[in-house]
């Protein structure tokens, strides 16, 4: 046991001493923050758009549209600076040129047909901005609706009063995080799945490269003459695991700090919370517990596999190929999160949260979505931990034979023999 502790100690100390650990520790929260805030920052559409409205209407619809676009939104933000020009055949060509030389962001073409059939055209150098398209869409829809109702003889004042912005408040019923809004559950699920995926991947690969380092530098021969291969593998996995927990602690602390300062960091402009999508959820003790349990489980399961991959390979390139199947398992689990967030109760979600290779990511996602019976969590954890024992048993046998092998990569048949005879 003292030797296992020595291995754990070496893995921990050598890793924490490395510069990249501290780079990760410090940049981690910034990185995660960016992942959450960047979409909303970018979603704002990147500032004010200068556009021209080519007005081919015979009514004052063009004037209305231009005025509507120039009006700031309820938050006081200006999305457009719009100028109305009457339609003329050469206008489109010259404006296209203006867009090409970036003096103009785009131009909107409307005519009487816009009110009749709802058709309008927007030409710009970038037509994939959701924010811009959305704002144009909203403005046009609103005014076209009003114009049509007016044409049908409805009093504009009545139309105005009839338009009510619906604000649907969603609240989760029961479960661990009761009271949390759907947006919070979503971001919690997203957050947990991403961190789990990221941490299992990074630290699993750490275990792999540690095995590989001992193998390629041939230190392993002295080591296995001193302690059992299983002890060595155990020490490695636990040592790297300890580093990851330490990393989480640092992230947790600095994340709190960063979050407390978010208003200042994001500037005076409204933050993501206003959009109601990426809100920072309240993390309860139970949620933290589920997260930690599945992180430890997932890490143990995957790092055992990564250790075996390292033992099978003779160098980095080979390892990169050999790790593919393990990576696919992990990536597939992560990607399935997006399907599960939409319907956490579906058969697919339930199945994925029981399969040990995907449950470390799937179960926390379902947990975050809420209202999960404890028995299901217990069953999933039980399956996971039984699988860890099984997978570790197989991995340690591959490890034991593999670390002393050089030369070509073993075939599946040879692997089976290693497992049998080790």
């Amino acid at each position: 046991m003292r030797k296992v502790l020595a291995v754990i100690r070496r893995e921990f100390v050598e890793r924490v001493r490395q510069r990249w650990f501290w780079v990760m520790a410090l940049l981690g929260p910034v990185f995660f923050g960016a992942i959450f805030y960047l979409p909303t920052l970018l979603g704002r559409g990147g500032g004010v758009k200068h556009i021209v409205v080519i007005d081919g209407t015979t009514t004052d619809f063009g004037v209305q549209i231009t005025a509507r676009l120039n009006r700031p939104d309820p938050q006081g933000r200006t999305s457009f600076v719009a100028v109305r020009l009457p339609a003329a055949p050469p206008l489109e060509d010259s404006l296209t040129h203006e867009v090409e030389i970036k003096r103009l962001d785009g131009f909107l073409i409307i005519s009487d047909a816009t009110v009749d059939s709802g058709k309008a055209e927007y030409r710009a150098d970038n037509v994939s901005s959701f924010a811009t398209n959305g704002a144009l869409d909203n403005a046009l829809t609103e005014l076209v609706n009003a114009a049509r109702l007016e044409r049908a003889g409805v009093d504009p004042e009545v139309v105005k009063r009839a338009r009510v912005q619906i604000s649907l408040a969603t609240h989760k019923v029961g479960g661990a995080a009761s009271g949390a809004s759907a947006a919070q559950s979503f971001s919690l699920a997203y957050f947990m799945a991403f961190i789990l995926y990221f941490a299992i991947l990074v630290y699993g690969i750490n275990v792999m490269s540690s095995v590989l380092e001992e193998k390629t530098s041939r230190v392993v021969e002295v080591l296995v003459s001193s302690l059992r291969p299983f002890q060595l593998m155990l020490g490695k996995v636990l040592g790297v695991g300890a580093v990851s927990i330490f990393q989480f602690l640092i992230w947790g602390l600095s994340g709190r700090l960063l979050f407390a300062q978010r208003q200042r960091l994001m500037g005076a402009s409204p933050t993501a919370e206003d959009n109601g999508i990426f809100t920072v959820p309240h993390i309860t003790a139970e949620t933290a517990l589920v997260f930690v349990a599945y992180f430890i489980g997932g890490f143990l399961l995957y790092s055992a596999m990564f250790a075996a991959v390292g033992a099978m390979s003779s160098n980095e390139q080979e390892a990169r190929q050999t790790q593919q199947p393990v990576m696919y398992l992990l990536v597939a689990s992560y990607l399935s999160m997006f399907a599960m967030i939409n319907d956490p109760g579906s058969t697919l979600s339930v199945t994925l949260s029981l399969i040990p290779f995907s449950s470390p990511i799937a179960m926390p996602v379902r947990w975050a979505a809420g209202n999960l019976p404890m028995s299901e969590v217990a069953l999933s954890l039980a399956i996971l931990f039984v699988s860890i024992i099984g997978v570790t048993w197989i991995a340690s046998r591959i490890y034991r034979v593999g670390i002393l092998m050089t030369g070509k990569r073993p075939s599946i048949k040879e692997l089976v023999r290693w497992v049998r005879t080790a």
Binding site: E14, E221, V222, L227
Partner: protein, 321 residues
């Protein structure tokens, strides 16, 4: 006789297709320098790995200090030091940390290990490198670090696979001195080599193996006596007399390596060198030298192993699965 430190009992190890070690037995008494000799690919490293419990023999057994080695055996790693053929240190760790870690692997506690490590580093002239990273060291220095970590826990048995390969004469001498120092303190040393001159100078007992099998073993003097026969070196001073016909007499001389002014003779069984001397003088030869010589270990080795042993080198030393 005292109990053996190490007994290898008819071990066999096969690697998919070829037999690396074939029914080999060794018996090493305490307090000797024991040489395991053989051409490349003879099975030396595989034998040593089985002794170290890295490989399990397919059949046969290994006993260290009276206990069997292997997964079921007692952990004797604290009493054994091992220098593998392919040296290995963590390239990115500091010298002192590597030594401490490997010492811990051998059951030494860190504090004690630190004192001894600093001692050894000073003794081998590496004091200034204590806090440097391993990959900043030259090959020779790395070898010394590896050597320190092999013996830092003061093991009763030191097993070294090709300890001199890659060492310059100065460092080789340092290693030899340290080995004799260990030997003087009653430690047992098992080393493998294919360089016979070295084995001849260092080892009290040898075992020559080829193709995984033992060809001969025993105390060096005995091996020399029983193999290769009696040798005579004759030097001529101008006149050779009737030397050619005397050397051709198969009752006296078994083999002859004759050149103009000198001849190395292997005597026939039961021949008396004095008869040759008398015959040479009587035939009118003038001699500058007439010397009874031991055959070199190198000659015994080549006689035993034969030139075909060179083909053994083509066999992979490291097994493939």
């Amino acid at each position: 006789m005292t109990t053996s430190i190490l007994v290898v009992d008819r071990v066999t190890k096969r690697f998919s297709g070829h037999t690396a070690v074939d029914g080999l037995s060794l018996d090493i008494p305490p307090g000797v320098v024991y040489g395991l000799l053989g051409p490349n690919g003879a099975g030396k490293s595989t034998t040593i790995r089985m002794i170290m419990g890295i490989y399990e023999p397919d059949s046969g057994s290994v006993r260290l200090f009276g206990d069997s080695v292997g997964a079921s055996g007692k952990d004797v790693s604290a009493r054994v030091g091992y220098l593998p053929e392919e040296r290995g240190l963590y390239p990115k760790m500091k010298v002192i940390d590597v030594i401490l870690f490997l010492a811990e692997m051998r059951g030494l506690d860190r504090r004690q290990a630190r004192t001894r490590a600093l001692d050894w580093l000073e003794r081998l002239g590496l004091k200034d490198w204590t806090l440097r990273k391993v990959n900043e060291l030259s090959k020779g220095m790395q070898q010394k670090v590896q050597f320190i970590s092999t013996i830092i826990h003061d093991p009763d048995l030191v097993v070294m696979d090709e300890p001199f390969s890659g060492l310059d004469p100065v460092n080789a001498q340092v290693l030899k001195d340290t080995l004799f120092d260990l030997r003087a303190r009653g430690k047992t040393i098992l080393l493998s080599t294919h360089i016979m001159e070295q084995a001849e100078k260092l080892c009290e007992r040898v075992c020559i193996i080829a193709w995984g099998k033992k060809l001969v073993d025993g105390p060096l003097a005995e091996v020399k006596r029983t193999h290769g026969g009696q040798h005579v070196v004759v030097g001529f001073d101008g006149a050779n007399g009737d030397a050619a016909s005397i050397f051709a007499d198969r009752r006296l001389v078994a083999k002859c390596d004759n050149s103009a002014q000198q001849a190395e003779l292997e005597l026939a069984a039961n021949a008396d060198p004095q008869d040759i001397l008398k015959a040479l003088v009587a035939s009118g030869a003038r001699l500058s030298r007439f010397e009874l010589a031991e055959p070199s270990l190198n000659k015994i080795f080549i006689d035993l192993v034969g030139p075909e042993a060179a083909t053994a080198a083509a066999r992979p030393d490291v097994p493939r699965a």
